[in-house]
């Protein structure tokens, strides 16, 4: 992932004598990174006020203010001390995670990456092929399952995804599995019927598990523009998301959308993925992410 702001120093030097130009160009940089206009103007406005109230005119200090503001937005509320993400699995067994999202964001690859991550941390993982719609979706997840040596529960194509999930949880309980990963079919948030189908899957989990899914993670492609907000808000209304997984961060898009999503919808990012290899996944770290966006120097 590349940094968000090309170089604040550069912009600063360019507009040394003209503050207006500096703030404007900074604003442009945020927007060019798919941060929404509303969140951008909030961040810039806050930092500007702060700087003018305390009469801060030093570029390094202003940079710190911007970084702090963005970090404050991205921090989970409340922050968990010493959280390395593994505590996501400290609840009851099996932990059941649903992965959802629009078409083509990388849900199946992400399921494989998560499975690999937790398997390597000594957890038993069961994959669930609840995408019964897309041609060859099962073959794709099965390919990963074989690669990882993990079991996968599946039914025939076009069968009820709820039934697949039902079977999967039953199997997980019987075999004392730690983590059940449910790969759902990609769907447009604008499709009423398909969103209802997801709600049904969630209900099946609730019934079988006697509690809600432990995580409902929405997978977002980092090249997505402003529409990401509409996507997340509709999926969130339908399911109650617990977090975001930002994918394809090895591209040239910087993932500025997650700043908007956290700021305007209050949904935190939990993982980011960045490549085609199974190990290309990491727990989201606001500090690291912000440092990457605004490199020092």
């Amino acid at each position: 992932m590349e940094r968000l702001i090309k170089s604040i120093n550069l912009i600063w030097n360019k507009f040394r004598r003209n503050n207006e130009g500096f703030w404007e160009e900074l604003e442009e940089q945020f927007i060019l990174n798919d941060v929404s206009a509303a969140t951008t103007s909030m961040i810039i406005g806050d930092v500007r006020n702060h700087a003018s109230m305390e009469n801060i005119n030093d570029i390094e200090k202003i940079k710190e203010l911007i970084k702090d503001r963005v970090k404050k937005i991205l921090m989970p509320v409340p922050p968990v001390p010493g959280d390395n993400g593994m505590n996501l699995l400290q609840g009851l067994k099996p932990s059941v995670w649903m992965l959802v999202g629009v078409n083509g964001t990388g849900k199946t690859s992400t399921v494989a990456k998560l499975a690999n991550l937790y398997k390597n941390n000594g957890k038993s993982v069961l994959l669930t092929a609840a995408d019964t719609f897309r041609a060859a979706a099962y073959e794709q997840i099965n390919h990963y399952a074989e690669l990882l040596g993990l079991p996968v529960v599946h039914h025939q194509r076009f069968s009820d995804p709820g039934a697949v999930v039902y079977d999967s949880i039953e199997k997980a309980v019987a075999k004392n599995i730690d983590l059940v990963l449910v790969d759902t079919a990609g769907r447009m948030h604008t499709s009423y019927n398909l969103m209802e189908e997801l709600k049904k899957i969630k209900k099946v989990i609730l019934k079988k598990l006697n509690r809600e899914p432990d995580e409902i993670l929405m997978v977002i492609d980092s090249t997505t523009g402003q529409n990401a907000k509409a996507q997340v808000s509709i999926f969130h209304n339908a399911l109650g998301l617990s977090g975001i997984i930002l994918t394809k961060t090895d591209g040239t898009s910087k993932g500025g959308i997650i700043i908007t999503i956290k700021n305007e919808l209050k949904i935190p990012v939990k993982f980011i993925t960045s490549g085609e290899k199974l190990e290309n996944i990491a727990f989201f770290d606001p500090q690291k992410f912000t440092d990457m966006l605004f490199p020092s120097g």
Binding site: V102, G104, G251
Partner: protein
Amino acid sequence: MFEFLTEKFEDIFYRIRNRGKLSPGDLDEAMREIRLALLEADVNFKVVKEFIGKIKIRALGQDILESLSPSQQVIKIVNEEIISILGGGISDVSFAPRPPTIFMLAGLQGTGKTTATIKLANFIRNKYGRKVSVIAADIYRPAASLQLSDLAKQINIEVYSKKDKKPLEIIIEGIDFLKKSGSDVIIIDTAGRLHIDPEMMHELKDIKRNVRPHQVLLVLDAMTGQEAVNIAKTFNDDIEFDGIILTKLDSDTRGGAALSINHVIKKPVRFISTGEKTDEFDIFHADRIASRILGMGDVLTFIEKAEKVIDEKKAKEIEKKILANELNFVDFVDQMKSIRKMGSIEKIISMLPIKNKTKMFSNINIDDSQLNRIEAIINSMTDEEKVKPYIINGSRKKRIAAGSGTAVSDVNKLLKQFSMAQQTMKQFSKFGKGFSLPF
């Protein structure tokens, strides 16, 4: 599709229109709003800047502030600029003089290349009656070629795929094989790749150089953000594509990426893909999309049409009559006719700059057959009855119903609606503003 931009523009111009005349401040406000709307629609920042600059210069140059209908002028300018960016003209599919015509699809991961390959194959076969087949050249994503084969089988399209071979080999062999089996059109599905992955881009360049496809199409997710321009630019620098297939337009995406790419690298959107079904695919019509973006379908055509059919003098007369409570069926049918000259009711509604019109009108069943019935009823009245509707009694109603091929209840309904309309108009006129058509 493009609903968001549409709504924004509708908002802005609805406000301006209601105020009548534009002030310089209004113009600035409109520009600010348009800028924001375009940015939130993922139109590239630099494109927005240029776009706004152009519109402003044109708007000021034409003294629109002095003109009688400044808001319409602004709309016209914005509309023209969007069309000019989207590249006017309809693009039909052209075929090589000597078959097979070879299409190659390329793009980032997850944009929908495999689905688009099948949809394009289906589209060309059904629309142009050609024998179309596909080649599965994505050897990287697990089960990608199986996905293509499955989809192809579903719609009876021949597919070539091979295991344990390099994409270029598969393609060359595939073309050879499919040529022999009599394919007119061959579509190649390539693996998704990052535009900054040198190895993978090299593979694509290599394929293009050796295979020389007639059409290279970039498959672009309509929900792509500000980076769309750079992605398209890099692909274009490496493999110079001919056009774009814009996918996932069934989302509520604002679709600005298409606008930006057109503007910056001058490559047209050729096809759009709008759903999970194989036939949800079409040729891209720039003018249609532009008018959708503006959300006024065609406010311009509408205004022009309205001006043509509505006689100012007559409108004044009617206003007087309403004030005097003398409106009758002669005027009613007159007005109805002039409005109907503009087209079907559905079409008129589609041209109106009203927010959420689809939601608003979805419950109201205004169809033309209903209006035909009303016209028939009025035409079956005597001249006296038309001017003095209150003389219509039971036996007259029976006659009118028989004459117009309707039921007495239909006649009753119309009379009731008419008297209600009279009342409403009278109330309007009491405000002293007079009555004018609402547009």
